[in-house]
């Protein structure tokens, strides 16, 4: 087992002494390998709080989180090596590009490994490998990260986390701020890393089009509670999205409209534009 949440609740204290429950009574399991999971939910539904528990960046107020057989509770346990947990589960925050700080791409990616006492030669080797994993070649090594485009900066900062060779990778809205083409390039990259390394990857996103096209498991959070855990297909066939005021993928929305206004016998569950066109041509063939 990679990560297991057992009835986890997290409350934030605030000034007015009123505590605020960010997540409530969450139980779920994530495998060590082979998972590709989307985490969706409204602003303030607890997605980021949930993600921060996955590498013990914050501790549950009640319940336990098991991370690679370390049991994380409310209290700090001296026997647990939190640093090694944070190495096993890499967490990439929203806008990771703001955390770039070195004057070359190579130095920036090497920073993490060097902190974990890897030799300079080894760190250099790892930096190049990680850079290639995010789809950039060695010509980037000596470039200044601040002169790169937004999408490139994102990739360099993700390479910095990959350089620590985490077992599991958690990314908080990695595609936000990118144009549609950039989003798809990055999603294909994650899928590619997932295929090459079998690493479990968990991605927070709002984009249901991406969820439908790329993922095989979706977690839906609502007001801090887990309201769905299953495949995108099952999610879109359920009433969970309507209940949660979440959006359907554009392919489904468009087909639903045509089905209703033209009274055609359409299978609305199509993932891509090509599939939508095929389905529409199929049902209108004889007219």
């Amino acid at each position: 087992m990679g990560i297991r949440f057992n009835q986890v609740t997290h409350e934030y204290a605030s000034y007015s002494k009123v505590t605020y429950k960010a997540i409530h009574n969450i139980s779920l399991s994530i495998l060590e390998h082979d998972e590709f999971i989307a985490l969706v939910g409204h602003t303030g539904s607890g997605k980021s709080t949930l993600a921060k528990h996955m590498n013990a960046l914050i501790f549950p107020t009640s319940g336990t989180v098991e991370i690679f057989n370390n049991i994380i509770t409310k209290k700090r346990d001296k026997k647990i090596k939190y640093n090694s947990i944070r190495k096993s589960v890499g967490l990439v925050f929203q806008f990771p590009e703001y955390q770039l700080f070195e004057d070359t791409v190579e130095k920036d990616i090497m920073f993490g490994p060097l902190n974990f006492k890897v030799s300079i030669e080894e760190a250099k080797k790892v930096a190049l490998e990680s850079l290639e994993l995010v789809g950039l070649d060695e010509s980037y090594l000596n470039r200044n990260p601040f002169n790169l485009s937004g999408g490139e900066k994102k990739r360099v900062s993700i390479a910095g986390i990959l350089a620590l060779d985490p077992e599991i990778l958690v990314l908080d809205e990695p595609t936000s701020g990118l144009d549609p083409e950039g989003k798809n390039i990055l999603m294909r990259l994650f899928k590619d890393i997932h295929k090459k390394t079998n690493k479990t990857i968990i991605i927070i996103t709002h984009d249901m089009d991406l969820v439908y096209q790329y993922f095989n498991r979706v977690l839906v959070l609502k007001d801090g509670e887990l309201s769905f855990d299953g495949s995108p297909e099952r999610l879109f066939k359920s009433d969970i999205l309507d209940k949660n005021h979440l959006d359907f993928p554009n392919t489904i929305k468009t087909l639903k409209h045509i089905k209703e206004t033209m009274n055609l016998d359409i299978n609305i569950y199509q993932k891509t534009v090509e599939d939508v066109i095929k389905e529409l041509n199929r049902v209108t063939k004889n007219e």
Binding site: Y12, S14, Y15, S16, G41, H42, T43, G44, S48, Q94, F95, S149, G150, G151, E173, S176, G177, L178, D179, P180, E181, G182, H206, M208, H245, L246, D247, N250, T251, K253, T254, H257, I258, T261, M262, V273, V276, I277, L280, N281, T284, E287
Partner: protein
Amino acid sequence: MSIISVRDVSFFYNEKKLGLKNINIEINKGEWIAILGHNGSGKSTLAKTLVGLLEPQKGEILIDQVLLNDETAYELRKKIGIVFQNPDNQFVGVTVRDDIAFGMENLCVPREEMLQKIEFYAKKVGMSKFLDKQPSNLSGGQKQRVAIAGILAMHSDILIFDEATSMLDPYTRNDLINYIKTLNKEGLTIIMITHDVNEALLADKMLILNKGELYAFEETAEILKKPEVFHECHLELPVALEVASLVKNIEVKEKLWEYALTK
């Protein structure tokens, strides 16, 4: 009458990096303009020149018929508010209340009026409950709404949203878009930089930038008839229109168009 005139504006970051090239635009009062373009096409550069954050090396910009320059920039900035993509970059207040007050304080709004306005605009953006919270404790979407409240409170005539909704979840985004619709009906000029073509459909006109040049600037319904413009500029068309351009059945085509344009 034009509220914004951009006349032959060019901007270079340095010899190698071009920002904008020979841009000419007239924007009328009360219009809603969507600015679209690939990453690096010059969208944000254009927005920054409009508010005087960047000074073009060539050409001139007039806001409400007044030439934007060092002397007029301070006055003209009251007329234009800009909301950035990441509100973390624009927070100054210790609490949400302080943050909404900041712009008004600079404009010397009387205290009584300011207190009322803070309440009013916090409510408008759905953040009344959070007035005494620290901005750093808010989620990304909540922060963005606070930033918008701060600008609305200054009564700008022109509002620029630089991908300001890209970090919001769909529900919050719809809420905000509906509010922007109201503001537009009240006469505000809206300029919205966006990657979301569904959002851009709401605009009266679309302005498409490509590699720093003005590629197209037309009525929304007209430009949508030219899918090649979107493809050439690496932009996405709404799914319904992408499908409409390739589907065989005429009636389905029509329904798809209807669907895309009534959103």
